[in-house]
């Protein structure tokens, strides 16, 4: 990645211009400009992380450790929420379908809404909470206690060691967690169906996937990679740029969750629009 992306050149210029404007203009516009500077800083951070991702010397061991931390350690939480998601969705949808005399559609309806939307978004939001705040707090406290500086002076690129590994781990683990949540959600749905009926698991599955198409599945999977990347980047950015003093650790964790959740929803909206155009 020696060829610089144009954005890398433009963003610092916009940033400098924003700073100049906010210095010259009245107080009213300062907040708007701070927002712009924040956005520019975020993109600078992001482009630097991308550049480091494609450099040599990948920190494989730390990457595996982060996959364990982000993926494996989230399994209990995702198991419970996934199963309950399917169960509740089934119980809530049943009366509506019942009034149309279409209860036989229940499995496929729940499966489609789980796989297309509920599974990815709910799992991503839960991970924005768990993983985003975890990364934000960890990197934030490393920043405040000078551990990031210590890494830098020990000939280790902290961006590569801390940020790239976490962003990649989140980008790969969140999609896996979503698939896992989808599967458990469908199990939960089967339980939900059986509360007021008697459907064998095999029949349930064949009903659930009877109208299932690739377009129900593929875009939903693709967007989860973006959810994972967003959670990893935002968590790292908030932690890495934490201020001085211990209270900034809490601030970093909190704002990581807020921003990651917001961006997950926005990315989802964009993804749905794009999918809609493709159909």
């Amino acid at each position: 990645m020696k060829t610089k992306l144009p954005v890398i050149k433009i963003v610092p210029k916009i940033r400098d211009a924003s700073i100049k404007i906010s210095e010259k203009t009245m107080v009213k516009t300062v907040e708007a400009n701070e927002f712009l500077i924040g956005v520019a800083d975020f993109f600078l951070f992001f482009s630097q992380a991308v550049r480091e991702t494609f450099s040599r010397n990948f920190e494989f061991k730390e990457f595996l450790r982060q996959c364990h931390q982000i993926g494996f350690k989230s399994l209990p939480l995702i198991s419970i929420t996934g199963a309950i998601m399917g169960l509740v969705l089934t119980i809530q949808t049943r009366p509506v379908l019942d009034s149309f005399g279409a209860v036989s559609l229940l499995p496929s309806m729940v499966a489609i809404s789980l796989v297309r939307e509920i599974g990815p978004v709910i799992t991503a939001l839960i991970c924005a909470g768990k993983v985003g705040s975890g990364i934000g707090a960890e990197l934030g406290s490393m920043k405040v206690t000078e551990q990031i500086d210590a890494m830098e002076v020990s000939s280790t690129n902290p961006m590569r060691f801390l940020v790239v590994t976490r962003v990649l781990a989140a980008t790969l683990m969140i999609p896996l967690l979503v698939l896992y949540a989808d599967a458990l959600g469908i199990m939960g749905s089967w339980i939900g169906v059986n509360i007021k009926g008697d459907v064998s698991f095999v029949l349930f599955i064949s009903q659930a996937f009877s109208v299932f198409e690739l377009i129900d599945f593929l875009p939903a999977v693709v967007k989860t990679f973006f959810f994972g990347a967003v959670i990893g980047v935002v968590g790292s950015y908030k932690g890495y740029t934490a201020g001085r003093g211990t209270e900034s650790v809490g601030v970093a964790a909190n704002s990581a969750v807020v921003l990651a959740s917001l961006l997950v929803i926005i990315v989802d909206m964009i993804a749905v629009q794009i999918t809609d155009m493709l159909i």
């Binding site: 206690t145 000078e146 551990q147 500086d149 210590a150 830098e152 002076v153 020990s154 000939s155 280790t156």
Partner: protein, 257 residues
């Protein structure tokens, strides 16, 4: 101690400059932290930099390893201008500098052993595990701690953490040591032990050191020469005796204890 140090410095004819800071300026926003700092670190000496909290002592040594970029002025370390050298050269230079951070900066997620291995594996890439283990045992013995290898940093006391950070810093055989408030937050007995360790490191590894502190006891114990920082400038430069006999009220207020 003071006399011993004076003797040792008078016996030192070598005045090769290791770190040369000229007209250094650094501001954060409107806050001018360093206004015009010029000072030298000579080979083999312990230079103590005194100053109130918030006077920019940490900023000064962070500029030396370019954790912060100075606004103006030049810093030459071992003859190289830190602010213009390329990334790789900077990395090579940093390998020769040991930085003891104020908070210790031990990696929370790693055991003591992993903390000590971390810089070794990254700076001396070709070292075998056997050599690494020997080196770890050596530095741990130097700091007087042996049975903590598999503990996490959170399980150590403040003094132990300082010692382990010191061990992690000296493990790569630095030529220059930068100590950021090595005794702050420690009890008087532990502080004295750390001061002693600083002197041992100087003798054993022949390092040139900058010791940042506002602890007069530590300064007395370790200094060959002292520089006082005040309002972003060097306020005084001299031996410990010059300070203790000074009539200047500001210096007196520091040394009244």
């Amino acid at each position: 101690m003071e006399q011993v140090n004076n003797i040792s410095i008078s016996g030192m004819n070598n005045t090769e400059t290791i770190v040369e800071i000229s007209n250094l300026k650094k501001s954060f926003g409107n806050q001018k932290v360093l206004k015009d700092v010029t000072l030298q670190l000579y080979k083999g000496e312990n230079l103590v930099v005194l100053g109130k909290s918030g006077s920019g002592k940490s900023v000064l040594i962070k500029c030396i390893v370019r954790l912060l970029n100075p606004d103006e002025g030049s810093i030459r370390v071992l003859g190289e201008d830190v602010s213009v050298i390329k990334r790789e050269e900077l990395s090579n230079l940093r390998m020769k500098i040991g930085f003891l951070f104020q908070s210790g900066a031990l990696y929370d997620s790693m055991t003591v052993k992993e903390n000590l291995e971390f810089p070794l594996r990254r700076i001396k890439k070709k070292m075998t595990q056997k050599l690494i283990d020997e080196k770890i045992a050596e530095v741990l013995e130097n700091v007087g701690l042996l049975d903590v290898l598999h503990k996490m940093p959170s399980q150590l006391s403040g003094g132990m953490r300082k010692r382990i950070s010191l061990a992690r810093t000296i493990i790569v055989d630095p030529q220059i040591m930068l100590y950021d408030e090595p005794t702050t937050g420690l009890d008087p007995v532990t502080s004295d032990e750390i001061s002693l360790l600083i002197n041992q490191v100087q003798k054993k590894y022949k390092t040139s050191s900058i010791i940042i502190t506002h602890d007069i006891e530590c300064a007395r114990a370790t200094a060959d020469r002292l520089v006082m920082l005040h309002e972003g400038q060097v306020y005084k430069n001299g031996k410990i005796g010059d300070y203790e006999n000074s009539d200047d009220p500001f210096i007196k207020s520091f040394f009244k204890g």
